[in-house]
Protein backbone atom coordinates (compact mmCIF):
# COMPACT_ATOMS: atom_id res chain seq x y z
CA UNK A 1 0.00 0.00 0.00
CA UNK A 2 1.52 3.33 -1.01
CA UNK A 3 0.72 6.69 0.53
CA UNK A 4 0.33 8.50 -2.76
CA UNK A 5 -3.01 10.31 -2.91
CA UNK A 6 -3.71 9.72 -6.58
CA UNK A 7 -2.06 8.17 -9.56
CA UNK A 8 0.02 10.62 -11.57
CA UNK A 9 -1.96 12.15 -14.42
CA UNK A 10 -0.42 11.99 -17.86
CA UNK A 11 -1.35 11.58 -21.46
CA UNK A 12 -3.04 8.28 -22.26
CA UNK A 13 -5.82 6.57 -20.37
CA UNK A 14 -5.95 6.50 -16.60
CA UNK A 15 -3.48 3.86 -15.36
CA UNK A 16 -4.14 1.14 -12.79
CA UNK A 17 -1.97 1.48 -9.72
CA UNK A 18 -1.05 -0.01 -6.38
CA UNK A 19 -3.90 0.69 -3.95
CA UNK A 20 -3.50 3.74 -1.76
CA UNK A 21 -4.97 4.86 1.54
CA UNK A 22 -7.00 7.33 -0.51
CA UNK A 23 -8.47 4.47 -2.54
CA UNK A 24 -9.71 2.84 0.65
CA UNK A 25 -11.10 6.15 1.92
CA UNK A 26 -12.97 6.50 -1.35
CA UNK A 27 -14.23 2.92 -1.25
CA UNK A 28 -15.70 3.66 2.20
CA UNK A 29 -18.02 6.25 0.61
CA UNK A 30 -19.93 3.60 -1.38
CA UNK A 31 -22.95 1.98 0.33
CA UNK A 32 -22.02 -1.55 -0.81
CA UNK A 33 -19.56 -3.29 -3.11
CA UNK A 34 -19.97 -5.73 -5.96
CA UNK A 35 -17.63 -8.70 -5.47
CA UNK A 36 -16.60 -10.39 -8.74
CA UNK A 37 -14.58 -13.44 -9.62
CA UNK A 38 -14.30 -16.12 -12.29
CA UNK A 39 -16.33 -19.14 -11.17
CA UNK A 40 -15.48 -22.80 -11.60
CA UNK A 41 -17.38 -22.92 -14.91
CA UNK A 42 -15.15 -20.13 -16.22
CA UNK A 43 -17.81 -17.41 -16.14
CA UNK A 44 -17.47 -14.13 -14.26
CA UNK A 45 -19.92 -13.89 -11.42
CA UNK A 46 -20.82 -11.00 -9.19
CA UNK A 47 -22.68 -10.45 -5.97
CA UNK A 48 -23.40 -7.31 -3.97
CA UNK A 49 -22.40 -7.36 -0.34
CA UNK A 50 -21.74 -5.17 2.65
CA UNK A 51 -18.24 -4.15 3.65
CA UNK A 52 -16.15 -2.08 6.00
CA UNK A 53 -12.78 -0.47 5.52
CA UNK A 54 -9.92 -1.14 7.88
CA UNK A 55 -7.78 1.83 6.90
CA UNK A 56 -4.98 1.06 9.36
CA UNK A 57 -4.63 -2.52 8.17
CA UNK A 58 -5.18 -1.67 4.50
CA UNK A 59 -7.86 -4.36 4.28
CA UNK A 60 -11.59 -4.59 3.63
CA UNK A 61 -13.70 -6.94 5.78
CA UNK A 62 -16.56 -8.09 3.53
CA UNK A 63 -19.94 -9.71 4.18
CA UNK A 64 -20.56 -13.35 3.23
CA UNK A 65 -23.40 -13.63 0.71
CA UNK A 66 -25.55 -16.68 1.38
CA UNK A 67 -25.39 -19.48 -1.16
CA UNK A 68 -22.67 -17.78 -3.23
CA UNK A 69 -19.41 -18.36 -1.38
CA UNK A 70 -16.65 -15.91 -2.23
CA UNK A 71 -13.61 -17.96 -3.29
CA UNK A 72 -10.35 -17.81 -1.40
CA UNK A 73 -8.22 -19.58 -3.99
CA UNK A 74 -8.22 -16.97 -6.75
CA UNK A 75 -8.17 -13.26 -7.46
CA UNK A 76 -11.40 -11.40 -6.78
CA UNK A 77 -12.36 -7.77 -7.20
CA UNK A 78 -14.49 -5.27 -5.32
CA UNK A 79 -16.28 -2.54 -7.26
CA UNK A 80 -17.90 0.55 -5.82
CA UNK A 81 -20.01 2.46 -8.30
CA UNK A 82 -22.01 5.67 -8.03
CA UNK A 83 -24.17 7.55 -10.47
CA UNK A 84 -26.92 10.12 -9.98
CA UNK A 85 -29.61 9.93 -12.66
CA UNK A 86 -30.88 13.36 -13.66
CA UNK A 87 -34.19 12.76 -15.43
CA UNK A 88 -34.27 14.41 -18.84
CA UNK A 89 -30.64 15.51 -18.58
CA UNK A 90 -28.56 12.37 -18.14
CA UNK A 91 -26.27 11.57 -15.24
CA UNK A 92 -23.85 13.29 -12.95
CA UNK A 93 -21.60 12.37 -10.04
CA UNK A 94 -20.29 9.38 -11.97
CA UNK A 95 -17.50 7.59 -10.19
CA UNK A 96 -16.36 4.07 -9.68
CA UNK A 97 -13.48 2.26 -8.12
CA UNK A 98 -12.32 -1.31 -8.59
CA UNK A 99 -9.85 -3.05 -6.30
CA UNK A 100 -8.31 -6.44 -7.07
CA UNK A 101 -6.83 -8.77 -4.52
CA UNK A 102 -7.47 -11.87 -2.43
CA UNK A 103 -10.01 -12.79 0.21
CA UNK A 104 -9.54 -15.20 3.12
CA UNK A 105 -13.28 -15.65 3.27
CA UNK A 106 -13.91 -12.69 5.55
CA UNK A 107 -11.32 -10.05 4.72
CA UNK A 108 -10.19 -8.71 1.36
CA UNK A 109 -6.63 -7.52 0.85
CA UNK A 110 -6.21 -5.31 -2.24
CA UNK A 111 -3.15 -5.41 -4.47
CA UNK A 112 -4.25 -3.30 -7.43
CA UNK A 113 -6.68 -0.42 -8.03
CA UNK A 114 -8.30 1.49 -10.84
CA UNK A 115 -10.99 4.11 -10.83
CA UNK A 116 -12.52 7.14 -12.38
CA UNK A 117 -14.26 10.08 -10.76
CA UNK A 118 -15.63 12.70 -13.12
CA UNK A 119 -15.20 15.32 -10.39
CA UNK A 120 -11.44 14.82 -10.79
CA UNK A 121 -11.09 13.88 -14.45
CA UNK A 122 -14.02 15.38 -16.37
CA UNK A 123 -15.68 13.11 -18.92
CA UNK A 124 -14.31 15.13 -21.85
CA UNK A 125 -10.75 14.85 -20.55
CA UNK A 126 -11.20 11.13 -19.86
CA UNK A 127 -12.41 10.75 -23.45
CA UNK A 128 -9.41 12.64 -24.81
CA UNK A 129 -7.04 10.51 -22.74
CA UNK A 130 -8.65 7.46 -24.32
CA UNK A 131 -8.18 8.53 -27.96
CA UNK A 132 -5.10 6.30 -28.42
CA UNK A 133 -7.17 3.28 -27.30
CA UNK A 134 -9.82 4.11 -29.92
CA UNK A 135 -7.17 4.35 -32.62
CA UNK A 136 -5.63 1.02 -31.57
CA UNK A 137 -9.04 -0.67 -31.54
CA UNK A 138 -10.04 0.61 -34.97
CA UNK A 139 -6.63 -0.35 -36.41
CA UNK A 140 -7.03 -3.89 -35.05
CA UNK A 141 -10.63 -3.99 -36.29
CA UNK A 142 -9.45 -3.01 -39.78
CA UNK A 143 -7.06 -5.97 -39.76
CA UNK A 144 -9.79 -8.27 -38.41
CA UNK A 145 -12.34 -7.21 -41.05
CA UNK A 146 -9.85 -6.91 -43.91
CA UNK A 147 -10.88 -3.33 -44.75
CA UNK A 148 -10.04 0.10 -43.44
CA UNK A 149 -12.40 1.18 -40.67
CA UNK A 150 -12.08 4.81 -39.61
CA UNK A 151 -14.27 7.12 -37.57
CA UNK A 152 -16.60 9.30 -39.64
CA UNK A 153 -18.61 12.49 -39.52
CA UNK A 154 -21.15 13.75 -42.03
CA UNK A 155 -19.52 15.89 -44.76
CA UNK A 156 -21.08 19.10 -43.41
CA UNK A 157 -19.89 18.62 -39.83
CA UNK A 158 -16.52 17.32 -41.00
CA UNK A 159 -16.00 20.45 -43.13
CA UNK A 160 -17.09 22.68 -40.26
CA UNK A 161 -14.78 20.95 -37.81
CA UNK A 162 -11.79 20.59 -40.15
CA UNK A 163 -11.69 24.23 -41.23
CA UNK A 164 -12.86 25.62 -37.87
CA UNK A 165 -15.38 27.67 -39.82
CA UNK A 166 -16.89 29.56 -36.84
CA UNK A 167 -13.54 31.31 -36.31
CA UNK A 168 -14.09 33.21 -39.58
CA UNK A 169 -15.48 36.09 -37.50
CA UNK A 170 -11.83 36.93 -36.84
CA UNK A 171 -11.45 37.66 -40.57
CA UNK A 172 -14.81 39.35 -41.03
CA UNK A 173 -14.12 42.04 -38.43
CA UNK A 174 -10.91 43.54 -39.89
CA UNK A 175 -12.02 43.11 -43.51
CA UNK A 176 -15.36 44.85 -42.91
CA UNK A 177 -13.65 47.61 -40.94
CA UNK A 178 -11.17 48.18 -43.78
CA UNK A 179 -14.05 48.41 -46.21
CA UNK A 180 -15.93 50.79 -43.87
CA UNK A 181 -12.93 53.13 -43.53
CA UNK A 182 -12.51 53.16 -47.31
CA UNK A 183 -16.22 53.88 -47.74
CA UNK A 184 -15.94 56.79 -45.29
CA UNK A 185 -13.24 58.11 -47.64
CA UNK A 186 -15.64 57.82 -50.58
CA UNK A 187 -14.24 54.58 -52.04
CA UNK A 188 -16.53 51.55 -52.14
CA UNK A 189 -17.19 48.91 -54.77
CA UNK A 190 -19.49 46.18 -53.48
CA UNK A 191 -18.23 43.32 -55.57
CA UNK A 192 -14.53 43.86 -54.83
CA UNK A 193 -15.53 44.21 -51.17
CA UNK A 194 -17.30 40.85 -51.40
CA UNK A 195 -14.33 39.26 -53.18
CA UNK A 196 -12.04 40.58 -50.43
CA UNK A 197 -14.19 39.00 -47.76
CA UNK A 198 -14.31 35.67 -49.60
CA UNK A 199 -10.57 35.68 -50.40
CA UNK A 200 -9.64 36.60 -46.83
CA UNK A 201 -11.91 33.85 -45.52
CA UNK A 202 -10.31 31.19 -47.73
CA UNK A 203 -6.85 32.34 -46.63
CA UNK A 204 -7.92 32.14 -42.98
CA UNK A 205 -9.34 28.63 -43.42
CA UNK A 206 -6.17 27.53 -45.22
CA UNK A 207 -4.11 28.86 -42.34
CA UNK A 208 -6.33 27.04 -39.81
CA UNK A 209 -5.83 23.74 -41.63
CA UNK A 210 -2.07 24.33 -42.02
CA UNK A 211 -1.74 25.05 -38.32
CA UNK A 212 -3.52 21.79 -37.52
CA UNK A 213 -1.16 19.85 -39.77
CA UNK A 214 1.93 21.19 -38.02
CA UNK A 215 0.44 21.00 -34.51
CA UNK A 216 -0.40 17.35 -35.18
CA UNK A 217 3.03 16.58 -36.60
CA UNK A 218 4.75 18.31 -33.66
CA UNK A 219 2.71 16.29 -31.17
CA UNK A 220 1.13 19.40 -29.60
CA UNK A 221 -2.43 18.33 -30.40
CA UNK A 222 -1.81 14.71 -29.32
CA UNK A 223 -0.43 15.89 -25.99
CA UNK A 224 -3.43 18.13 -25.36
CA UNK A 225 -5.99 16.18 -23.32
CA UNK A 226 -8.10 19.20 -22.38
CA UNK A 227 -9.15 20.70 -25.71
CA UNK A 228 -12.24 22.87 -25.77
CA UNK A 229 -14.38 24.28 -28.57
CA UNK A 230 -12.04 27.28 -28.60
CA UNK A 231 -8.67 25.61 -28.10
CA UNK A 232 -6.70 22.53 -28.99
CA UNK A 233 -7.22 22.74 -32.76
CA UNK A 234 -9.75 20.89 -34.92
CA UNK A 235 -8.39 17.47 -33.80
CA UNK A 236 -9.58 15.84 -37.03
CA UNK A 237 -6.13 14.34 -37.57
CA UNK A 238 -5.80 13.31 -33.90
CA UNK A 239 -9.14 11.46 -34.19
CA UNK A 240 -8.14 10.05 -37.60
CA UNK A 241 -11.20 11.62 -39.21
CA UNK A 242 -8.92 13.10 -41.87
CA UNK A 243 -5.37 12.06 -42.75
CA UNK A 244 -2.48 14.50 -42.78
CA UNK A 245 -2.35 13.96 -46.53
CA UNK A 246 -6.03 14.89 -46.82
CA UNK A 247 -5.48 18.00 -44.71
CA UNK A 248 -2.52 18.98 -46.88
CA UNK A 249 -4.59 18.77 -50.05
CA UNK A 250 -7.36 20.75 -48.38
CA UNK A 251 -4.95 23.48 -47.27
CA UNK A 252 -3.51 23.69 -50.77
CA UNK A 253 -6.98 23.98 -52.25
CA UNK A 254 -8.01 26.72 -49.83
CA UNK A 255 -4.80 28.66 -50.46
CA UNK A 256 -5.26 28.22 -54.21
CA UNK A 257 -8.72 29.82 -54.07
CA UNK A 258 -7.46 32.58 -51.77
CA UNK A 259 -4.44 33.17 -54.05
CA UNK A 260 -6.59 33.27 -57.19
CA UNK A 261 -8.94 35.83 -55.64
CA UNK A 262 -5.96 37.83 -54.34
CA UNK A 263 -4.32 37.90 -57.78
CA UNK A 264 -7.64 38.89 -59.37
CA UNK A 265 -7.91 41.80 -56.94
CA UNK A 266 -4.29 42.81 -57.65
CA UNK A 267 -5.08 42.76 -61.38
CA UNK A 268 -8.22 44.83 -60.85
CA UNK A 269 -6.61 47.40 -58.55
CA UNK A 270 -3.23 47.36 -60.33
CA UNK A 271 -1.80 47.68 -56.81
CA UNK A 272 1.58 46.15 -56.04
CA UNK A 273 1.00 47.21 -52.44
CA UNK A 274 -1.92 44.77 -52.30
CA UNK A 275 0.30 42.02 -53.73
CA UNK A 276 2.90 42.57 -50.99
CA UNK A 277 0.21 42.64 -48.31
CA UNK A 278 -1.17 39.33 -49.61
CA UNK A 279 2.26 37.71 -49.69
CA UNK A 280 2.96 38.97 -46.16
CA UNK A 281 -0.37 37.51 -45.02
CA UNK A 282 0.33 34.04 -46.37
CA UNK A 283 3.89 34.05 -44.96
CA UNK A 284 2.76 35.13 -41.49
CA UNK A 285 -0.16 32.67 -41.51
CA UNK A 286 1.80 29.62 -42.61
CA UNK A 287 4.97 30.49 -40.67
CA UNK A 288 2.83 30.67 -37.55
CA UNK A 289 3.32 26.92 -37.01
CA UNK A 290 5.25 25.72 -40.07
CA UNK A 291 9.03 25.28 -40.11
CA UNK A 292 11.49 26.85 -40.46
CA UNK A 293 10.08 29.94 -38.72
CA UNK A 294 7.47 28.26 -36.43
CA UNK A 295 6.64 31.65 -34.96
CA UNK A 296 4.33 30.28 -32.27
CA UNK A 297 7.08 27.96 -31.03
CA UNK A 298 9.39 30.95 -30.63
CA UNK A 299 6.99 33.02 -28.59
CA UNK A 300 5.97 35.18 -31.55
CA UNK A 301 2.56 33.65 -32.16
CA UNK A 302 0.55 36.42 -30.54
CA UNK A 303 2.42 39.10 -32.52
CA UNK A 304 1.96 37.13 -35.76
CA UNK A 305 -1.79 36.88 -35.15
CA UNK A 306 -2.02 40.57 -34.26
CA UNK A 307 -0.23 41.44 -37.51
CA UNK A 308 -2.24 39.02 -39.64
CA UNK A 309 -5.70 39.88 -38.34
CA UNK A 310 -4.88 43.55 -37.76
CA UNK A 311 -2.84 45.55 -40.27
CA UNK A 312 -2.59 42.86 -42.96
CA UNK A 313 -6.32 42.06 -43.20
CA UNK A 314 -7.64 45.57 -42.56
CA UNK A 315 -5.10 47.40 -44.72
CA UNK A 316 -5.54 44.80 -47.45
CA UNK A 317 -9.30 45.40 -47.53
CA UNK A 318 -8.71 49.17 -47.50
CA UNK A 319 -6.18 49.03 -50.34
CA UNK A 320 -8.56 46.96 -52.49
CA UNK A 321 -11.04 49.83 -52.32
CA UNK A 322 -8.70 52.85 -52.43
CA UNK A 323 -5.52 51.56 -54.05
CA UNK A 324 -3.37 53.17 -51.36
CA UNK A 325 -2.29 52.86 -47.73
CA UNK A 326 -3.39 55.29 -45.01
CA UNK A 327 -2.70 56.14 -41.38
CA UNK A 328 -6.33 55.91 -40.31
CA UNK A 329 -6.82 52.28 -41.39
CA UNK A 330 -3.39 51.39 -40.01
CA UNK A 331 -4.10 52.80 -36.54
CA UNK A 332 -7.62 51.37 -36.55
CA UNK A 333 -6.22 47.96 -37.52
CA UNK A 334 -4.37 47.82 -34.23
CA UNK A 335 -7.71 47.44 -32.40
CA UNK A 336 -8.86 44.14 -34.01
CA UNK A 337 -5.21 43.09 -34.17
CA UNK A 338 -4.92 43.32 -30.39
CA UNK A 339 -8.34 41.84 -29.69
CA UNK A 340 -7.87 38.86 -32.00
CA UNK A 341 -4.41 38.25 -30.55
CA UNK A 342 -6.14 38.27 -27.17
CA UNK A 343 -8.49 35.52 -28.39
CA UNK A 344 -5.43 33.41 -29.12
CA UNK A 345 -3.82 34.50 -25.85
CA UNK A 346 -6.78 33.38 -23.71
CA UNK A 347 -7.32 30.21 -25.76
CA UNK A 348 -3.68 29.29 -25.12
CA UNK A 349 -4.27 29.20 -21.35
CA UNK A 350 -5.85 25.69 -21.21
CA UNK A 351 -3.32 24.47 -23.79
CA UNK A 352 -0.29 25.71 -21.88
CA UNK A 353 0.86 22.35 -20.50
CA UNK A 354 0.62 20.47 -23.79
CA UNK A 355 2.10 23.47 -25.61
CA UNK A 356 5.06 23.44 -23.23
CA UNK A 357 5.53 19.68 -23.82
CA UNK A 358 5.56 20.32 -27.58
CA UNK A 359 8.00 23.22 -27.21
CA UNK A 360 5.49 25.96 -28.02
CA UNK A 361 6.68 29.02 -26.12
CA UNK A 362 3.37 30.87 -25.99
CA UNK A 363 2.93 33.73 -23.53
CA UNK A 364 0.81 31.63 -21.10
CA UNK A 365 3.60 29.01 -21.19
CA UNK A 366 6.25 31.61 -20.35
CA UNK A 367 4.38 33.88 -17.94
CA UNK A 368 2.89 33.35 -14.48
CA UNK A 369 -0.92 33.32 -14.22
CA UNK A 370 -0.80 36.75 -12.57
CA UNK A 371 1.29 38.15 -15.41
CA UNK A 372 -1.01 36.60 -18.02
CA UNK A 373 -4.05 38.20 -16.38
CA UNK A 374 -2.32 41.57 -16.05
CA UNK A 375 -1.17 41.32 -19.66
CA UNK A 376 -4.73 40.71 -20.77
CA UNK A 377 -6.05 43.79 -18.98
CA UNK A 378 -3.29 46.05 -20.28
CA UNK A 379 -3.72 44.88 -23.88
CA UNK A 380 -7.53 45.08 -23.83
CA UNK A 381 -7.48 48.56 -22.33
CA UNK A 382 -4.82 49.56 -24.89
CA UNK A 383 -7.26 48.63 -27.67
CA UNK A 384 -9.89 50.93 -26.18
CA UNK A 385 -7.26 53.65 -25.60
CA UNK A 386 -6.41 53.52 -29.31
CA UNK A 387 -10.07 54.16 -30.14
CA UNK A 388 -10.18 57.15 -27.78
CA UNK A 389 -6.85 58.52 -29.04
CA UNK A 390 -7.99 58.08 -32.64
CA UNK A 391 -11.16 60.06 -32.03
CA UNK A 392 -9.44 62.76 -29.93
CA UNK A 393 -6.76 63.23 -32.59
CA UNK A 394 -9.41 63.50 -35.29
CA UNK A 395 -8.16 60.39 -37.09
CA UNK A 396 -11.38 58.40 -36.41
CA UNK A 397 -14.92 59.75 -36.62
CA UNK A 398 -16.48 60.43 -33.22
CA UNK A 399 -19.16 57.67 -33.50
CA UNK A 400 -16.27 55.20 -33.23
CA UNK A 401 -16.50 55.89 -29.49
CA UNK A 402 -19.48 53.51 -29.52
CA UNK A 403 -16.86 50.78 -29.16
CA UNK A 404 -16.29 51.84 -25.55
CA UNK A 405 -19.63 50.22 -24.70
CA UNK A 406 -17.73 46.91 -24.83
CA UNK A 407 -15.35 47.79 -21.98
CA UNK A 408 -17.46 45.83 -19.42
CA UNK A 409 -17.02 42.66 -21.52
CA UNK A 410 -13.25 43.03 -21.30
CA UNK A 411 -13.48 43.52 -17.55
CA UNK A 412 -15.69 40.41 -17.22
CA UNK A 413 -13.15 38.36 -19.16
CA UNK A 414 -10.36 39.64 -16.91
CA UNK A 415 -12.39 38.70 -13.84
CA UNK A 416 -13.16 35.29 -15.35
CA UNK A 417 -9.46 34.64 -15.85
CA UNK A 418 -8.96 35.16 -12.12
CA UNK A 419 -11.60 32.58 -11.20
CA UNK A 420 -11.28 29.93 -13.92
CA UNK A 421 -7.61 30.04 -14.94
CA UNK A 422 -6.89 26.42 -13.99
CA UNK A 423 -10.13 24.84 -15.16
CA UNK A 424 -10.25 24.33 -18.96
CA UNK A 425 -13.93 23.51 -19.03
CA UNK A 426 -15.23 26.35 -16.85
CA UNK A 427 -12.85 28.67 -18.69
CA UNK A 428 -14.82 27.94 -21.88
CA UNK A 429 -17.47 30.52 -20.98
CA UNK A 430 -14.72 33.12 -20.48
CA UNK A 431 -13.18 32.20 -23.83
CA UNK A 432 -16.61 32.66 -25.40
CA UNK A 433 -16.95 36.12 -23.85
CA UNK A 434 -13.51 37.00 -25.15
CA UNK A 435 -14.49 35.99 -28.70
CA UNK A 436 -17.60 38.14 -28.28
CA UNK A 437 -15.44 41.09 -27.20
CA UNK A 438 -13.77 41.21 -30.61
CA UNK A 439 -17.13 40.80 -32.38
CA UNK A 440 -18.84 43.50 -30.32
CA UNK A 441 -15.96 46.01 -30.58
CA UNK A 442 -15.61 45.32 -34.31
CA UNK A 443 -19.36 45.56 -34.80
CA UNK A 444 -19.61 48.83 -32.87
CA UNK A 445 -16.68 50.34 -34.78
CA UNK A 446 -18.33 49.29 -38.04
CA UNK A 447 -21.62 50.85 -36.94
CA UNK A 448 -19.69 53.97 -35.88
CA UNK A 449 -18.24 54.31 -39.37
CA UNK A 450 -21.63 53.73 -41.02
CA UNK A 451 -23.13 56.43 -38.78
CA UNK A 452 -20.28 58.76 -39.73
CA UNK A 453 -20.89 58.05 -43.44
CA UNK A 454 -24.62 58.75 -43.06
CA UNK A 455 -23.99 61.98 -41.11
CA UNK A 456 -21.49 63.08 -43.74
CA UNK A 457 -23.98 62.33 -46.53
CA UNK A 458 -26.72 64.29 -44.76
CA UNK A 459 -24.52 67.28 -43.97
Amino acid sequence: MTATATAPMRSGSIPAHAPTATDLERLATYPYVVVSWIDDAGYPTSVATSFEVDASGGTVPIGSPAGVPIPTDREISLTGSHIRPQPGIGYDERRYLQLWGRSDGATFTPSRAWGWDEAEVPFFEYSERSVPQSRRYLAALSVEKGRTIRPRLSPFWLALRTTRLPFLSATAVPVLLGIAVAASHGAFTWWTALLTLIGGSFAHLGINVTNDIFDTLSGADDANTTPTQFSGGSRVAVYDLVSIRGLSWLALGLFAVAGAIGLLLVAITQSLTLLWIGIAGVIVGVAYTAPPLKLVYRGLGEIAVALGFGPIMLLGAYVVQTGELGWEPFVLSLVPGILIALILYVNEIPDRRSDAEAGKRTLPVRLSPEAVRAGYLVAALAAFAIVVAGVVSGLFPWPALLALAAVPIALRVHQGLKVHYDSPYTLMAVMGQNVNLNLVVGGLLFVGYVVAIVISALA
Binding site: S36, Y43, S46, I83, L138, L153
Partner: protein
Protein backbone atom coordinates in the same frame (compact mmCIF):
# COMPACT_ATOMS: atom_id res chain seq x y z
CA UNK B 1 -38.40 -15.42 -26.57
CA UNK B 2 -36.45 -14.95 -23.40
CA UNK B 3 -36.46 -17.24 -20.38
CA UNK B 4 -35.32 -14.82 -17.67
CA UNK B 5 -37.70 -14.66 -14.69
CA UNK B 6 -40.12 -11.78 -14.81
CA UNK B 7 -38.65 -9.85 -11.83
CA UNK B 8 -35.25 -9.88 -13.53
CA UNK B 9 -36.79 -8.68 -16.78
CA UNK B 10 -38.36 -5.81 -14.81
CA UNK B 11 -34.93 -4.88 -13.46
CA UNK B 12 -33.44 -4.95 -16.96
CA UNK B 13 -36.20 -2.75 -18.30
CA UNK B 14 -35.52 0.07 -15.80
CA UNK B 15 -31.80 -0.32 -15.05
CA UNK B 16 -29.77 2.77 -15.87
CA UNK B 17 -26.56 1.07 -14.80
CA UNK B 18 -25.44 -2.52 -14.48
CA UNK B 19 -22.00 -3.91 -13.68
CA UNK B 20 -20.65 -5.87 -16.65
CA UNK B 21 -17.78 -8.14 -15.66
CA UNK B 22 -15.54 -9.51 -18.38
CA UNK B 23 -12.49 -11.77 -18.23
CA UNK B 24 -9.34 -9.71 -18.59
CA UNK B 25 -5.80 -10.69 -19.31
CA UNK B 26 -4.61 -13.48 -17.01
CA UNK B 27 -8.18 -14.40 -16.07
CA UNK B 28 -8.75 -11.24 -14.02
CA UNK B 29 -12.36 -10.11 -13.53
CA UNK B 30 -12.79 -6.55 -14.82
CA UNK B 31 -16.01 -4.72 -14.09
CA UNK B 32 -17.52 -1.85 -16.11
CA UNK B 33 -20.63 0.12 -15.18
CA UNK B 34 -22.79 0.33 -18.33
CA UNK B 35 -26.41 0.94 -19.25
CA UNK B 36 -28.10 -2.40 -20.09
CA UNK B 37 -30.83 -2.66 -22.73
CA UNK B 38 -33.17 -5.62 -23.15
CA UNK B 39 -35.26 -6.73 -26.12
CA UNK B 40 -36.97 -9.65 -24.41
CA UNK B 41 -34.36 -12.16 -25.52
CA UNK B 42 -30.88 -10.66 -25.44
CA UNK B 43 -29.26 -8.13 -23.16
CA UNK B 44 -27.47 -5.41 -25.06
CA UNK B 45 -24.73 -3.11 -23.84
CA UNK B 46 -22.68 -0.75 -25.93
CA UNK B 47 -19.31 0.86 -25.73
CA UNK B 48 -17.47 3.66 -27.45
CA UNK B 49 -14.24 2.67 -29.15
CA UNK B 50 -12.66 5.16 -26.74
CA UNK B 51 -13.29 2.73 -23.89
CA UNK B 52 -12.89 -0.44 -25.90
CA UNK B 53 -10.60 -2.61 -23.78
CA UNK B 54 -13.71 -4.47 -22.60
CA UNK B 55 -14.49 -5.24 -26.25
CA UNK B 56 -11.02 -6.69 -26.73
CA UNK B 57 -11.50 -8.83 -23.63
CA UNK B 58 -14.90 -10.12 -24.81
CA UNK B 59 -13.44 -10.97 -28.21
CA UNK B 60 -10.78 -13.02 -26.41
CA UNK B 61 -13.32 -14.73 -24.10
CA UNK B 62 -17.05 -14.14 -24.50
CA UNK B 63 -18.10 -15.32 -21.03
CA UNK B 64 -19.48 -12.39 -19.06
CA UNK B 65 -21.76 -11.50 -16.18
CA UNK B 66 -24.04 -8.55 -15.64
CA UNK B 67 -24.98 -7.56 -12.09
CA UNK B 68 -27.98 -5.36 -11.37
CA UNK B 69 -27.43 -4.12 -7.84
CA UNK B 70 -28.04 -0.40 -7.31
CA UNK B 71 -31.61 0.52 -6.28
CA UNK B 72 -30.95 4.15 -7.31
CA UNK B 73 -30.06 3.02 -10.84
CA UNK B 74 -33.09 0.63 -10.79
CA UNK B 75 -35.50 3.51 -10.09
CA UNK B 76 -36.09 2.35 -6.54
CA UNK B 77 -36.53 -1.37 -7.26
CA UNK B 78 -34.55 -3.05 -4.45
CA UNK B 79 -34.24 -6.46 -6.15
CA UNK B 80 -30.85 -7.64 -7.34
CA UNK B 81 -29.75 -10.09 -10.00
CA UNK B 82 -26.66 -11.42 -11.71
CA UNK B 83 -26.96 -12.73 -15.26
CA UNK B 84 -24.23 -14.93 -16.70
CA UNK B 85 -23.99 -15.54 -20.40
CA UNK B 86 -21.98 -15.46 -23.55
CA UNK B 87 -21.39 -12.17 -25.29
CA UNK B 88 -20.48 -11.25 -28.84
CA UNK B 89 -19.23 -7.92 -30.08
CA UNK B 90 -21.03 -6.40 -33.08
CA UNK B 91 -18.70 -3.87 -34.67
CA UNK B 92 -18.84 -4.36 -38.45
CA UNK B 93 -19.51 -0.65 -38.75
CA UNK B 94 -18.87 1.17 -35.47
CA UNK B 95 -20.23 4.37 -37.01
CA UNK B 96 -23.78 3.18 -37.52
CA UNK B 97 -24.40 -0.48 -36.50
CA UNK B 98 -25.38 0.59 -33.01
CA UNK B 99 -27.90 3.10 -34.33
CA UNK B 100 -29.66 0.36 -36.26
CA UNK B 101 -29.48 -2.22 -33.49
CA UNK B 102 -30.00 -0.47 -30.18
CA UNK B 103 -30.64 3.27 -30.59
CA UNK B 104 -34.40 2.88 -30.16
CA UNK B 105 -33.95 0.89 -26.95
CA UNK B 106 -31.38 3.42 -25.71
CA UNK B 107 -33.58 6.43 -26.46
CA UNK B 108 -36.53 4.79 -24.72
CA UNK B 109 -34.54 4.25 -21.55
CA UNK B 110 -32.39 7.40 -21.64
CA UNK B 111 -34.14 10.17 -23.64
CA UNK B 112 -31.34 12.62 -22.77
CA UNK B 113 -29.17 10.81 -25.31
CA UNK B 114 -31.01 12.72 -28.05
CA UNK B 115 -29.25 15.91 -26.96
CA UNK B 116 -25.88 14.16 -27.09
CA UNK B 117 -26.65 12.87 -30.58
CA UNK B 118 -27.09 16.47 -31.75
CA UNK B 119 -23.58 17.18 -30.49
CA UNK B 120 -22.02 14.32 -32.44
CA UNK B 121 -19.59 16.75 -34.08
CA UNK B 122 -18.18 17.65 -30.65
CA UNK B 123 -17.57 14.04 -29.62
CA UNK B 124 -17.05 12.09 -32.84
CA UNK B 125 -15.18 9.16 -31.31
CA UNK B 126 -17.72 8.75 -28.52
CA UNK B 127 -20.25 7.85 -31.20
CA UNK B 128 -18.04 5.24 -32.86
CA UNK B 129 -19.54 2.38 -30.88
CA UNK B 130 -19.76 -1.39 -30.69
CA UNK B 131 -22.73 -3.38 -29.44
CA UNK B 132 -22.28 -6.18 -26.92
CA UNK B 133 -25.00 -8.80 -27.28
CA UNK B 134 -25.36 -11.15 -24.32
CA UNK B 135 -27.24 -14.41 -24.55
CA UNK B 136 -28.28 -15.15 -20.94
CA UNK B 137 -27.44 -18.66 -19.75
CA UNK B 138 -27.80 -18.53 -15.96
CA UNK B 139 -29.35 -16.06 -13.58
CA UNK B 140 -29.18 -15.48 -9.84
CA UNK B 141 -31.99 -13.43 -8.33
CA UNK B 142 -32.16 -11.87 -4.88
CA UNK B 143 -35.61 -10.62 -3.93
CA UNK B 144 -35.39 -7.28 -2.12
CA UNK B 145 -31.67 -7.32 -2.74
CA UNK B 146 -31.13 -9.59 0.27
CA UNK B 147 -27.80 -11.20 -0.55
CA UNK B 148 -27.69 -12.56 3.00
CA UNK B 149 -30.24 -15.05 1.71
CA UNK B 150 -29.43 -17.61 -0.96
CA UNK B 151 -30.48 -16.48 -4.44
CA UNK B 152 -33.01 -18.12 -6.70
CA UNK B 153 -31.06 -19.80 -9.47
CA UNK B 154 -32.45 -20.02 -12.99
CA UNK B 155 -30.78 -21.73 -15.91
CA UNK B 156 -31.54 -21.26 -19.59
CA UNK B 157 -33.48 -24.04 -21.31
CA UNK B 158 -31.05 -26.29 -23.09
CA UNK B 159 -32.03 -25.07 -26.58
CA UNK B 160 -31.12 -21.46 -25.60
CA UNK B 161 -27.84 -22.40 -23.97
CA UNK B 162 -26.94 -24.46 -27.01
Amino acid sequence: MGWLPEPVERLLEVALVGELTVIGRGGRPITHPLIPLYDGTHVYLHSSTLFSKKLEHIKADGRVSLALTDPVAMKGNPDRATIQGTARVIDDDPHSDWERLILQLWQAKEPAINDFLKARVALPLFFERAVIEITPERCLYWKDGRTDRAPEEHVAPSEVAA
